[in-house]
């Protein structure tokens, strides 16, 4: 969005109401979730979602490092969202830029809203999200992966956190934008839902939406999150039905 001076905007919506990849407005990209994808982490998950490839690992509850962050009455949640240098078109310098730091913060706060942190005082629960291949919606893919990784690690939570971005493309509210839609679309609204309470713990937005459009986007996002929720539960059932498996790729 807001790509100043961009050359030409592609047609994002066909006359039949179909999107550049043939999806309907309320249709998700293909999503695959595998719990327990890594060996070292206490819990982990690999998510492939459209052309996104995202890993999440959870370590903890463990000693807090650095020490002065330790809290007497609860666990601290430390979240690190990071993009691999090769995950985007133009090589990204290794290390956390300001965008990654902001995303790390809001994702960490989202999970601190559902994890029963008071059960593990003086410890740290560390969530690491690595984006290996990015194609819009990586923070939501990261939340989905981290959520499953937390469950895989046996961390008690009020609920899993499905997440999805809603946007506006070609004048219409659309679910789960892919890169071209995000680049040339009119709005982007990532969110994460607590399905049982129906409340949002992550919500960001950028672009142009009228009040009715915003309401519509919220409702569509909630609907999308509920679909994703089912897939997350399925991934966890598979993990415990068939026992631990290895491999970050399918």
């Amino acid at each position: 969005m807001g790509s100043v001076g961009a050359k030409e905007v592609p047609v994002l919506l066909s006359p039949e109401g179909l999107r550049i990849d043939g999806r309907k407005l309320d249709e998700l990209r293909p999503l695959s979730i595998r719990a327990g994808a890594l060996h070292q982490a206490d819990g982990s998950a690999a998510v492939e979602w459209g052309a996104n490839k995202v890993l999440a690992a959870v370590y903890g509850p463990r000693e807090v490092h650095p020490r002065h962050l330790q809290q007497n009455h609860k666990a601290v949640i430390q979240c690190r969202y990071n993009m691999a240098a090769f995950s985007v078109d133009e090589r990204k310098r290794p290390g956390l830029d300001r965008r990654s730091q902001e995303i790390s913060k809001v994702i960490g706060e989202a999970f601190e809203s559902v994890v029963f942190v008071e059960e593990y005082p003086r410890t740290s629960i560390d969530i690491y999200i690595e984006v290996l291949q990015a194609n819009a919606g990586t923070r939501c893919a990261g939340v989905v992966a981290a959520s499953v990784a937390l469950a895989d690690a046996g961390i008690p939570m009020a609920d899993l956190l499905p997440a999805v971005a809603v946007g506006k493309v070609g004048g219409a509210i659309a679910l789960d934008l892919k890169k071209e839609e995000d680049n040339f679309g009119e709005a982007d609204l990532p969110m994460a839902l607590v399905p049982q309470s129906g409340r949002l713990v992550l919500l960001q937005m950028e672009g142009h939406l009228t009040e009715p459009e915003l309401a519509q986007a919220l409702d569509l996002g909630v609907k999308g999150c509920r679909e994703i929720y089912e897939q997350m539960k399925r991934a966890l059932r598979e993990r415990y039905a068939v026992g631990p498996t290895a491999g970050a790729s399918s």
């Binding site: 913060k105 609204l189 960001q204 672009g207 915003l214 919220l218």
Partner: protein, 262 residues
């Protein structure tokens, strides 16, 4: 330790009051603290403002310098937004590199300014692909009594509104000229205190909050940016209601930023 207990007592007090529909400073849930805007506060800047919301104060300064456009936007100037949460302004801030809190303020303000297309960046291009103006928006928080986002954006917008492009000094044009402002984004921040959702939180209210929500609107009826922060949750209906309130406040604050008069 007494600091920790003190914070806990205040939190309980804030929440108890909220349950009765009250606030520590006597405001209603939808009432801002007193706002003052002092444009032109810093004469070394190309545009500036000191904005206070209650006891919170932010000085924003604009600097325009010739630079190079980004490779992917050769016809546009560059906008750089930075908030400094210096340790002078709060006992909770420490010296050192920007903390996540400062980065969040910078980015949320930046997002509103950018998404609203506040300034027409193509008009800051001098020679396509070679030379363009870099517009630095620096927000210096000098007193932190809560609601840094709204105060910082208001300061940035007021400073931009009065900014002059120093084209003569840099020998790029024969005369300086005002920066061209296209749109006027305003951010309104709310926090949840139990069942209540109140606007313009104080520092104590932020510390007690069960979620924070910022909504940026423009003068044409768009939501241009949002950010949920802190630990806590909002229902979609909460969000819709908050957006409605943000539009109401937006109009009032926008008039203040554009005029600069009290």
């Amino acid at each position: 330790m007494s600091e920790e207990i003190d914070a806990e007592i205040r939190t309980t007090h804030v929440l108890d009051l909220a349950a009765e529909g009250k606030r520590l400073d006597g405001r209603g849930p939808d009432e801002y603290r007193k706002i003052t805007i002092e444009p032109g506060f810093v004469t070394t800047a190309d545009g500036s403002a000191l904005v206070r919301i209650g006891d919170t104060a932010v000085v924003a300064g604009i600097k325009l310098e010739p630079g190079k456009p980004f490779a992917d936007t050769p016809n546009a100037g560059v906008l750089t937004t930075n908030a400094e949460l210096i340790p002078l302004s709060s006992p909770t801030f420490e010296p050192g590199p920007p903390q996540p809190g400062a980065i969040e303020v910078s980015r949320v303000v930046d997002r509103a300014i950018r998404a609203a297309e506040t300034i027409d960046l193509t008009r800051l291009c001098v020679t396509p692909g070679e030379k363009s103006w870099v517009c630095y928006v620096d927000m210096h928080v000098i007193d932190h009594s809560g609601n840094l986002i709204d105060t910082s954006l208001l300061a940035a917008l007021s400073a931009l509104t009065h900014a002059i492009v120093p084209a003569k000094r840099f020998e790029i044009a024969d005369a300086d000229y005002p920066l061209d402002i296209q749109h006027y984004p305003i951010e309104c921040t709310f926090v949840r205190l139990g069942d209540a959702i109140v606007v313009d939180p104080t520092f104590d209210e932020e510390r007690s909050a069960q979620g924070r929500l910022t909504v940026a609107t423009d003068e044409a009826g768009h939501v241009v940016a949002m950010q949920k922060g802190l630990i806590g949750a909002f229902s979609p209906d909460d969000v819709k209601d908050t957006v409605r309130r943000a539009f109401r406040h937006g109009d009032e604050l926008r008039a203040r930023a554009r005029g600069g008069a009290p």
